[in-house]
Symmetry: C2
Subunit: 446 residues, 2 copies
């Protein structure tokens, strides 16, 4: 028994909103998408994006609605990290096994494509229309010029909030009693910078690598675009000795880039122009519960679970929400109350798990990369994994190249960490780290 | 150099708002208090209150503005817990040392008194006036009938948000970037019930005790009022086998009270009437940061840190905020930016500490009171404390009968807990619990 067609509103025309529209159209529903911003296809990009890394979970969700190939065309596979470490030659770390890659996508380019695809499936977009209020039990939306102006009322069967970390739909749910909610900002901000292509349109750095300049409390990354450019992200504390606050003049910025990122000095003028043109953005972990209201309203993607970007899983997690929803829609047909209940029950622990993993990656980056014990531990893990790829799948691979639940990756990662803590206590571990003794120890603890 | 007089708004005429008004008037400021509700002196109480337990921190804050004696007149000292445990005779546990007590106050009676006192100090109250928006950098307030009606604008020098856990003032601060926020509801709700006085006006139960009927997942408490009645609070899960959800008819409620609280069956008709008349309320832990905006806006009391009521410290913590603020006002005179910065830096860790202690008390109540090991541990602690009152001040006393920081009580409590975990591992501890061996062990670990 297929689902009866419903009249469905989606708030937010971002990546999650437009993919959800495609899914819902395939199920035969009528779909209207509201966005307070103009059509991204008609305007310049914001200058506040971090490039996206599509990995297995994301691809799986695209495959389900037959748009995987279309998106691969605008994506570039990254097989390895390229590490730009001071006083060391450039070196590479493969992400996974032969052929395993994450795929670099410009957020703007992808979003435009997804809107095109949703439109060609018959979804109706209402850009520049601001949703100010939601009647949750009746799935009504109210839009208007300003919060205090005359509002227009729309009547729907179901409303999906895909309006991001600062969701207006969730905002309405927050006012109810017994709604759990948290938002935690980190003290590091980010800024988008660009490395332009060579004159012949080729990339200035290896295009199949994720480039990282780790510098302890701050870091630069670069991911390729199909036009030959790289979108870079500078992560830097808001306040302190080396911080966004402390870099206020062109001279200061120039000295900063020259000192810390000498191998991009050829494009330093571009970097500095972007540095002062583009906004500085904050990063937040947002958790909430419940995600749904009766059979009427559901939050999907960042509006339900916003995470810091240090695992590259924000979009992938949102797309996985949609895949899970679609499986439940097939299973429960018109019983939307059950669909929504099972959706939030299944996804909430996984969203919490990837939030935790992402935050840990941030903490590791900012405090542990200079710790020799931590580096030794990582070296031992890698050595053991290469010897026993069947016995020790690293957490990164479980998150990125598998479709098993995030909760499982977190739990197994914690178990591996406990084993490694035992290993690190072995006498003389820094000398015997790649000995048979260590190998036997790990095997015995597994 | 005293402070220059400022034109100050307080949003919220509750206990914290009215005490703050008294303080600010003593400093010579002009004070206007807005409240969206009518004057509590002119209306019936809400039927959703838990009686208050004033302890040392609260009294200290009242003493500072010479209103301690006035409030003592409407308070009743409770020297002990009266434990109503099934199949056991009623027994008593002293709260502290000889003469140490917490003081029972009806929230409504206290609030009326505090408003009288603030008014006689010259504070101006604007009841029934709803604040809908705050201009933070300019300390402007906007009030009106509804969110969409015409608003009136007020211009102030400083605005204090004393408008409780769901603060409108904080709501405006939440919309800024980098504002940390969390709200977590517990799955237990509460309901106010009343035990009326005897016909001659005396109390039906011992009036100098805090009465508790602990029942594992739920519990009834009773605290005396000066009119001879007791305000009771029934704490009960929202959902489940024995829950608010499961008690829907008078018959079910009657059976519930008869089975679990047999010694209040004489007033069962009152309890049942209240049960269906009074609302069921939820309990939340709310944390946020920052608490202030420049030298313009500050949150005080529940609007900055709402906690669950299981340590009886909500009002005391709010009053302590005000005491700390007043000390900083004396120290920094007209430098309100420094006053506010030091206020939030000093109070935030203490607010987090009492939130943690209060939540732990809830967890202990709901999951540990049936655990024989836990009860044995508490018995050992009590036994040791009585032998060595100078060496082992219990956390409860540090929180309730001291004015040392909450953070200190939490840290020392954690240390004591670690010691007790060692003690509980001693072989045969349930037999030797009050032996010299155990005494020596604790002394050695202190």
């Amino acid at each position: 028994m297929p689902q009866s067609p419903k009249n469905i509103a989606i708030v937010g025309s971002g990546l999650v909103g437009s993919l959800l529209a495609i899914y819902l159209r395939k199920f035969g529903h009528q779909v209207t998408i509201f966005d307070r911003r103009p059509d991204i296809r008609t305007i310049e990009f914001s200058g506040r994006s971090i490039n996206l890394a599509m990995s297995n979970r994301g691809w799986k969700a695209l495959r389900e609605v037959d748009i995987e190939d279309e998106i691969r065309k605008i994506a570039i596979p990254l097989y390895r990290r390229a590490m730009h470490v001071p006083d060391k030659p450039l070196y590479f770390q493969n992400y996974g096994l032969e052929g395993e890659a994450i795929w670099s996508l410009s957020r703007g380019v992808l979003n435009r494509k997804m809107i095109d695809l949703a439109e060609s499936e018959g979804a109706v977009f209402r850009f520049n229309e601001k949703v100010w209020d939601v009647n949750l039990p009746e799935a009504k939306l109210y839009t208007g010029e300003t919060e205090k102006s005359e509002w227009q009322e729309y009547d729907f069967d179901i409303v999906f909030g895909c309006d991001g970390a600062f969701s207006r739909v969730r905002h309405k749910m927050q006012r109810r009693s017994r709604f759990d909610y948290s938002q935690d900002f980190i003290d590091v901000g980010y800024k988008e910078l660009t490395i332009p292509p060579n004159e012949d349109g080729t990339h200035k750095l290896d295009k199949n690598s994720f480039h990282i300049w780790p510098r302890g409390r701050f870091m630069l990354i670069a991911m390729p675009n199909i036009d030959g450019s790289f979108t870079c992200t500078l992560f830097l504390p808001f306040e302190g000795a080396v911080s966004f606050e402390s870099l206020t003049t062109e001279q200061e910025a120039k000295a900063f880039f020259k000192e810390h990122f000498p191998n991009v000095r050829k494009v330093i003028d571009n970097l500095i122009r972007d540095f002062f043109k583009n906004p500085t953005s904050a990063m937040v972990t947002m958790k909430c519960y419940p995600w749904t209201y009766w059979d009427k309203v559901a939050l999907v993607g960042d509006s339900a679970h916003a995470i810091v970007p240090f695992y590259g899983q924000g979009m992938n997690a949102g797309f996985e929400d949609i895949f899970v929803l679609s499986q439940l829609m097939k299973k429960h047909n018109d019983d939307w109350e059950t669909i929504f209940q099972e959706y939030q029950r299944e996804r909430k622990p996984n969203a919490d798990a990837i939030a935790e993993l992402s935050h840990r990656n941030f903490m590791e980056m900012s405090s542990k990369t200079a710790d020799p014990d931590f580096l030794l531990q990582k070296k031992i893990e890698k050595w053991f994994y290469e010897k026993h790829p069947d016995k020790w799948i690293p957490v990164y691979s479980r998150v990125t190249f598998s479709e098993r639940p995030y909760t499982e990756a977190l739990a197994i990662g914690d178990h591996q960490e406990k084993i490694m803590q035992e290993v690190m206590k072995m006498p003389n571990i820094h000398k015997i780290w790649n000995s048979e003794e260590v190998e036997r120890k790990i095997l015995s603890l597994l």
